[in-house]
């Protein structure tokens, strides 16, 4: 964890809604693993904040890491970026996702958010022959996924949160990661757990992980804005997350 600077080296439009930025970052960030993120704010040439609006840093999850110092992020197309633009970065923030040793089939669910926070795991898992299914739910259905590797099976859930061959996908999955948007995380996770419980009477530990991407004011465990209640303990999204075993998370 430190504060470093980065600039935009290249901008690639990937679909109607999104662009990817190639950021030239400090070497300390090129070993980030899936699950880890950066807290980012625009700065000017003198390393000052350009404005106080937006005020807090934005949470950017890398979707790809290229070479030793190029990190790719996916951002909404409506925001205007420019090659050469400077950023201050605090990171890496958070803990890497934990995968089973003998992982064969993984189910990723993006619910009311783009799947960006899940994408960094894709290249290494594909390299290990893991088959990946990505289900887009709620507002995530608007996400256009043609630019993702074709080995990733992308499915759209319907309004009842079911999808074609759901029973099979759930049955086959060795591990599930559910990424939810901001707002009513507890409610979104409840929806998913209900779905799961209809399949598995007893959900094992380290099987379904909930991934949260709330704004993180400080990112270092100081402000306590990101506390989550887990069974028996309070955990911080910024230092203990972003993924939590959904069987332990208290969905109050």
């Amino acid at each position: 964890m430190k504060e470093t600077q980065a600039y935009i080296e290249r901008i690639m439009r990937v679909n109607r809604g999104h662009q990817r930025l190639a950021l030239a970052v400090d070497h300390s960030l090129s070993s980030m693993l899936a699950g880890q993120a950066m807290l980012v704010r625009r700065i000017d040439k003198d390393y000052e904040a350009e404005h106080w609006d937006p005020y807090l840093r934005e949470l950017w999850f890398p979707v790809e890491i290229q070479a030793s110092n190029i990190v790719i992020v996916e951002r909404p197309a409506r925001t205007h970026y420019l090659p050469g633009q400077l950023f201050s970065i605090i990171g890496p923030v958070g803990k890497p996702y934990r995968f089973r040793q003998k992982l064969r089939n993984i189910l990723l669910i993006a619910y009311n958010t783009t799947p960006a926070a899940l994408l960094l795991m894709v290249p290494p898992l594909l390299a290990k022959q893991v088959s990946i299914t990505l289900v887009l739910m709620g507002s995530a259905k608007q996400y256009e996924s043609n630019h993702l590797p074709e080995e990733v099976e992308v499915l759209q859930a319907d309004d009842n949160l079911t999808w074609p061959d759901m029973v099979m996908t759930l049955g086959w999955a060795d591990q599930v990661f559910v990424l939810v948007g901001q707002g009513d995380e507890a409610g979104y996770f409840s929806d998913i757990m209900q779905l799961m419980r209809e399949r598995h009477s007893d959900i094992p530990a380290n099987y379904v992980f909930g991934v949260v991407e709330r704004d993180l004011p400080c990112g270092v465990g100081a402000c306590h804005a990101c506390v989550l209640n887990l069974r028996g303990a309070q955990k911080l999204q910024c230092t203990d997350g972003p993924a939590f075993d959904l069987t332990e998370l208290r969905l109050n």
């Binding site: 504060e3 600077q5 904040a49 005020y55 004011p217 400080c218 100081a222 306590h224 209640n229 309070q234």
Partner: protein
């Protein structure tokens, strides 16, 4: 530089630079150790501890505003006794005085807590948080109770009530006043659509509290120090408060947005001046870097 930030009743509290973080922004312990050089600060102010444990707020806790943010954490903490036990080691290792922020609820509860605080040598002073909507009588009895402690007592006043409470709390035994806690407000959570009430932070708060500090400096007893807090986002913001009569300042959420700003303000007000090599790239030099070479230390 050696600045006494409390009035000399029984105790003194000396800082080497008149800049510290505001309670709630840097945690209980050394969470910011990788991003801040504590040695450059005047003091460390902890997050709010309460006598009994408090749970985190439900629902949304952070609402982005234009050039600002609304925050409602619920001030989660395991209660005073556990806070002391858990963090006293980190406090002992701090190179600067540690000020414990204690949220005042009832005078009776508070009295029972004082021995815990007096016993903890790692705590240099207490900043007592006075609740919003407190009436003067309750606030006075809290401060009077807390002032029985064997350490200096700072009282942090709520924003809307600060004009009414300042003089009574000065009389009740506060050794310094912190002006003020962030104002309460209500904003709509863009994700859930619900209204959330919390505290409002941002640079626009500064002109309001600067005015209060200027006015109250003229009304309060001369020997009672004022520590200013609210909307500080630059060294000039901090200097404006000193010029209005504050002895020291607290930097709040600017630290989240740009952590090194706190250190930079502290360097600036502490008389540390750094110069920059001409045409250096930001990567090679930046005024926020912890280990920027100090070129000159002004005479104090």
């Amino acid at each position: 530089m050696a600045i006494d930030i409390v009035r000399s009743r029984k105790y003194s509290l000396t800082v080497s630079t008149p800049v510290m973080p505001a309670s709630g922004t840097v945690g209980f312990g050394d969470r910011y150790r990788d991003l801040l050089d504590f040695e450059k600060l005047g003091a460390f102010v902890t997050n709010a501890a309460t006598i009994e444990p408090w749970r985190p707020a439900r629902g949304t806790r952070i609402i982005p505003l234009d050039a600002g943010v609304l925050v409602h954490t619920g001030l989660p903490n395991p209660g005073l006794a556990k806070v002391i036990k858990q963090y006293r080691r980190a406090w002992a290792n701090m190179p600067i005085p540690v000020i414990l922020h204690l949220l005042g609820t009832s005078a009776r509860q508070l009295k029972r807590a004082l021995p815990l605080i007096d016993e903890a040598q790692e705590i240099a002073a207490v900043e007592l948080g006075i609740s919003d909507d407190s009436d003067a009588a309750d606030a006075v009895s809290l401060v009077a109770a807390a002032s029985q402690m064997e350490k200096p007592l700072l009282a942090r006043l709520p924003f809307y009530e600060c004009q009414q409470l300042a003089l009574p709390l000065a009389d009740a035994g506060a050794d310094a006043l912190v002006l003020t806690a962030a104002p309460r407000g209500t904003a709509r959570d863009p994700h859930s659509g619900r209204l959330v009430s919390g505290r409002v932070y941002g640079p626009l708060i500064k002109p309001m509290i600067l005015r209060m500090v200027g006015r109250l400096r003229r009304q309060l007893p001369e020997e009672l120090p004022i520590i200013a807090s609210g909307g500080i986002h630059s060294p000039q913001d901090a200097r404006d408060y000193l010029e209005a009569g504050a002895v020291a300042v607290q930097v709040d959420t600017a630290t989240w947005a740009q952590p090194k700003m706190l250190e930079r303000i502290a360097r600036d007000l502490g008389g540390w001046v750094a110069t920059r090599q001409k045409d250096a790239l930001p990567d090679e030099w930046n005024p926020e870097m912890t280990h920027t070479e100090v070129i000159q230390r002004r005479a104090t």
